[in-house]
């Protein structure tokens, strides 16, 4: 009796390996909303990056002759109370929003993921200690936590970006991601394939990086995308409160800060457009995050 007999009659099906491009196309066809979110986010990022080339005006140039001008051909979205062009400020603001959002979410999620994995893998006292601290952080709304960090650190400009502000936005993200990644890591640690790797006598490092980490990429990516949206929102809120990005840097939240009721009547465009920009950015990253979750969810793909 030959062992191969069972399958010898089966012809070899030809089958292309999924490439990056194919995966993208598959994502676009199965998750059209997510793809739309991705495209919108990309357009915003590009617009921000090319702001110096495409913005019609200098975003900080004050022109009292153009004060509170309504939308027109010259100023498509109108001007503010210093006569600055709102479209230009929104384009430059996209820079701030995307950079701050991306960097903060990346720092926060990565730190959170590392803490989550460490906590789950080592267990015992380490886990208990980390979890207690995480629980305490989780009992505060993220904006409150961010404000505490602002109060603690003050300001620290690096390369035109307030590094302390980035910290203030990233720190509240850390415990959130840590909790989710820890629970994913715990369930992966219980998987039979991790047991099999331990039985094979592989090193701890190999088990964490080769067997556990790749399976944590999905929750990590989903959290990262969701927290880019959160970070953009948080940056806007802090700037709105006057505790984030400071004048004269163009930032969406800042454009809405300190507006007296007078302007509501005289120049509603000052209020409407920056808010729309924030909403659209957050919306598109949320959409992308949701679709990524549906797409990467192992439950949906298994069997």
């Amino acid at each position: 009796m030959k062992l191969g007999a069972i399958t010898t009659s089966v012809s070899v099906p030809s089958r292309a390996r999924p490439t990056g491009w194919r995966k993208m196309m598959q994502f676009a066809t199965t998750q059209p909303l997510g793809a739309a979110g991705l495209v919108t986010a990309l357009v915003m990022a590009i617009a921000g990056a090319l702001a110096p080339l495409i913005a019609p005006y200098n975003p900080v140039a004050i022109s009292f002759s153009d004060m509170l001008a309504p939308p027109s051909w010259e100023h498509p979205l109108g001007t503010d109370n210093f006569g600055r062009d709102i479209l230009s400020r929104i384009l430059y603001g996209a820079r701030t929003a995307i950079v701050m959002g991306l960097v903060s979410a990346l720092i926060g999620s990565t730190l959170g993921a590392i803490i989550g994995v460490v906590s789950a893998y080592f267990g015992g006292v380490v886990d208990l200690l980390i979890q207690r601290v995480v629980d305490i952080f989780l009992s505060l709304p993220i904006i409150v936590l961010a404000l505490v960090v602002v109060a603690m650190l003050g300001r620290n400009l690096v390369l035109g970006f307030d590094f302390n502000l980035i910290l203030a936005i990233s720190i509240p993200i850390v415990p959130q991601v840590a909790r989710v990644v820890r629970s994913s890591a715990l369930s992966i640690r219980e998987m039979a394939y991790v047991d099999a790797a331990r039985v094979a006598g592989y090193s701890t490092r190999r088990i964490i990086f080769r067997h556990m980490a790749p399976n944590l990429m999905a929750p990590y990516l989903i959290m990262l995308t969701a927290f880019i949206a959160q970070a953009i929102l948080l940056e806007a809120s802090l700037s709105f409160l006057g505790l984030g990005v400071t004048e004269p840097s163009p930032a969406w939240g800042l454009m809405l800060a300190g507006n007296a009721v007078d302007f509501y009547r005289q120049a509603p465009w000052m209020i409407i457009f920056p808010g729309l920009a924030i909403s659209l950015a957050v919306f598109s990253f949320n959409l992308l995050g949701d679709s990524l979750r549906d797409w990467l969810d192992p439950k949906a793909r298994l069997r």
């Binding site: 399958t7 089966v10 039979a192 094979a200 006598g201 592989y202």
Partner: protein
């Protein structure tokens, strides 16, 4: 129209359940004609049921048999009009119940019949009852909804029902919630709920698959007795041919959405006239026959119901395939009352075509008693604390998962470790693999304690095959990465090319094609995954393999393939196995010696043939009695003793002999001291004070 039934029920509600004789032939209660069920999903249309017809008479027990995905459950749900909406739909057919086509009724009319005329019992007793409603609330619901009873009447009737299904202390049960009850007790509640309104038909969808074998026997005996006594027709849907042989009057075999054979149980088992039925019966290991060599198996896999082959659906796997099989065979009578959908059914039923696999050379002789001992387990204990409640201040209880177990395994031998869930068999496996720390005792392999840091080499030579083929492979690694990883890590092969070659060699050894190397686990079937798991273990050049329920998640026809593979690998590579399973027949087939466990202790340990021929421990005897054999003639001759009671919780273990609470022979002294495992004959050990050495 309800009242007379109720009266009759009350009269016969005596607690002792006496089986009454076979059913008197009556008119058809339910007739299914040409039923077609489709599931419409994004990926396409799954033709789950195609042209199924059958009928059930009053008081008859009909079995619908087949492997997973054959359409048996979809058929049952279609009868009740409970197919998952909006995907599942009946596209054609009629279901005549008492002369009325259920498929044509309005939803309200159908609802009236559900739970009143037709009841259904599901597979998962753990999830089939609502966790936040009390047993009483759930039991009284149909009584109030269908029979218009008031609360008092419904309560009184509920107490009667719980008594009827053999639950003690029924009044207290009414106040309890599902989580207070064990799986077996929950299934009794489900049965009570099904009986509530005196139905004419009960459909039971794999009612005992989630239960242990002794509990399974209790539940099925109860269902049969009730069906006979109350003249209720019963449709049992199952994959277990033993259950079919023991309980069914009439059998319908399904394969790939179609009915392939129908007949009374005797005819189906004695004169199977469809090659699939033949293959199914032959591919299960038997308790009632001496072990043969290889299991005969059905090669290949069932077809994809989204892309079905033309002609006979079994043809690609059929050993008797002829040209004619390119055309669909229809279900025709081969003898009175016995139908088959096979072109060669006539030849099969007369025996002109030799279908039964002739017993091949008995590959496996008893392992040499002189072979060196490879594994020694001494007084192994594993206890762990579980918190008894939520929060920091609640107390902890100790679970004694394994409590003083000793045995050894010789070179080239397979030791079977068998027992019901929670008996500690898997815990022992994990301890031998050094996955969990032990509380006390030692495990010595090749003279080295495996807990010793220096015993790395010994640990590498001890490998594992897991039960769940879905979680045992890393979903992010391709098959070649999974199998090749140990080769690279341990530098068994010098370069990538040689690794590649070795991976191909290993794939061949486990019966997989070379192109499978590039696949990812989710692209493989359960059986293929299990083969990859075996190849991964082999890549580490093991000499000892712990097989932890390696076939229990697989369908019968695939199970046989894997068992044969394990058998052959042992022969060829001289492997030593610890084979952990709950299926007594599988263990009998593959093991040289067998240890029976109960609640963390070994009850009996003996050579395979000795143990199955001459079981001495009352627990072993009960286990063997409880397991049905796929042969109705033999089953009729058995008077199964049914184990009483439930498995005790491992937190509150009985004092003395752990089995004393369920043992038919138990006396006072049994609960006084833990009986030691004594040798009563050469190599036959029993832990029972009632067993005399011979």
């Amino acid at each position: 129209m309800i009242a007379p039934n109720t009266l009759r029920m009350e009269k016969s509600a005596s607690p002792g359940l006496v089986p009454v004789g076979p059913p008197s032939p009556g008119r058809a209660l339910l007739t299914v004609n040409d039923l077609h069920v489709h599931f419409v999903q994004a990926g396409g249309v799954t033709r789950a049921v195609e042209g199924v017809s059958f009928s059930v008479r009053q008081g008859q027990i009909l079995a619908l048999v087949g492997e997973s995905g054959c359409g048996k459950s979809a058929t049952a749900l279609a009868l009740m009009r409970l197919l998952a909406r909006p995907a599942g739909r009946v596209v054609k057919g009629e279901v005549l119940f008492d002369g009325v086509d259920l498929l044509k009724l309005s939803e309200a009319e159908m609802r009236e019949r559900r739970g009143r005329d037709i009841s259904m019992i599901f597979q998962e007793p753990m999830t089939s009852l609502n966790p936040v409603l009390s047993i009483g609330e759930q039991l009284m619901e149909p009584l109030i909804a269908h029979l218009g009873m008031n609360k008092q009447a419904a309560r009184a009737r509920s107490i009667d029902l719980l008594t009827m299904v053999g639950l003690t202390d029924p009044e207290r049960r009414l106040e309890q919630y599902p989580h207070h009850l064990s799986g077996g007790m929950r299934q009794r509640v489900m049965i009570a709920m099904g009986l509530a309104c005196n139905p004419k038909l009960i459909i039971a969808d794999e009612p005992t698959t989630a239960l242990d074998v002794t509990i399974q026997a209790q539940i099925l005996e109860l269902m049969r007795d009730l069906s006979r006594r109350l003249n209720i027709a019963l449709i049992i849907i199952t994959h277990n041919l033993g259950i079919v042989a023991r309980y069914a009057d009439s059998v319908n075999v399904m394969y790939a959405a179609r009915l392939v054979e129908r007949g009374d149980a005797d005819a189906i088992f004695a004169r199977s006239s469809h090659p699939y039925t033949v293959g199914l019966i032959d591919s299960i290991p038997r308790l009632d026959r001496p072990r043969q060599g290889r299991l005969s198996t059905i090669e290949g896999m069932p077809p994809d119901l989204m892309a079905l082959p033309a002609g006979c659906r079994f043809a690609p796997r059929c050993p008797h395939r002829v040209d004619k099989c390119d055309h669909d065979p229809s279900l025709v009578a081969v003898e009175p009352g016995h139908l088959s959908a096979c072109w060669r059914a006539g030849e099969l039923v007369t025996g002109a075509l030799q279908a039964r696999a002739t017993a091949t050379d008995a590959l496996l002789s008893i392992g040499p008693a002189t072979a060196p001992v490879r594994v020694t387990v001494q007084e192994l204990k594993r206890h762990f604390k579980v918190s008894a409640g939520r929060g920091w201040f609640s107390g902890a209880a100790t679970v004694k998962a394994v409590d003083g177990v000793s045995f050894d395994i010789r070179q080239g031998e397979t030791l079977g470790l068998v027992g019901e869930s929670g008996c500690g068999k898997s815990t022992i496996g994990r301890a031998i693999l050094n996955l969990d720390a032990v509380t006390a005792g030692s495990i010595i392999i090749d003279g080295q304690n495996i807990a010793d840091k220096r015993a790395r080499e010994v640990r590498r030579r001890t490998q594992v095959i897991f039960q769940d083929p879905f979680s045992s492979l890393n979903p992010r690694m391709s098959v070649s990465e999974i199998i090749g990883e140990p080769l690279a890590v341990y530098k068994f092969e010098p370069d990538a090319q040689r690794i590649e070659a070795r991976v191909q060699e290993l794939l061949g050894q486990v019966g997989l094609m070379p192109y499978m190397a590039e696949r990812y686990p989710h692209e493989l079937s359960g059986g293929q995954r299990q083969r990859v798991g075996i190849a991964r273990a082999l890549a580490l050049k093991p000499s000892i393999i712990v097989c932890d329920e390696p076939v229990s998640a697989l369908d019968v026809s695939i199970q046989g393939q894997i068992i044969n593979l394990l058998d052959e690998l042992q022969q060829r590579l001289g492997l030593t196995y610890l084979f952990i399973a709950h299926d007594l027949a599988v263990v009998r087939h593959i093991s040289h010696r067998v240890a029976v466990m109960y609640l963390g202790r070994i009850m009996e340990l003996a050579d395979r043939d000795e143990l199955y021929r001459n079981p001495r421990h009352p627990y072993t005897q009960l286990l063997l009695d409880a397991a049905p054999v796929p042969d109705p003639v033999i089953e009729r001759g058995r008077r199964p003793r049914v184990a009483k009671g439930e498995l005790p919780s491992p937190i509150n273990q009985p004092k003395g002999c752990v089995f004393s609470t369920r043992c038919p022979m138990a006396t006072v002294e049994c609960s006084q001291a833990v009986p030691a495992l004594r040798q009563i004959a050469d190599g036959h050990y029993v832990a029972c004070i009632k067993v005399e050495p011979c």
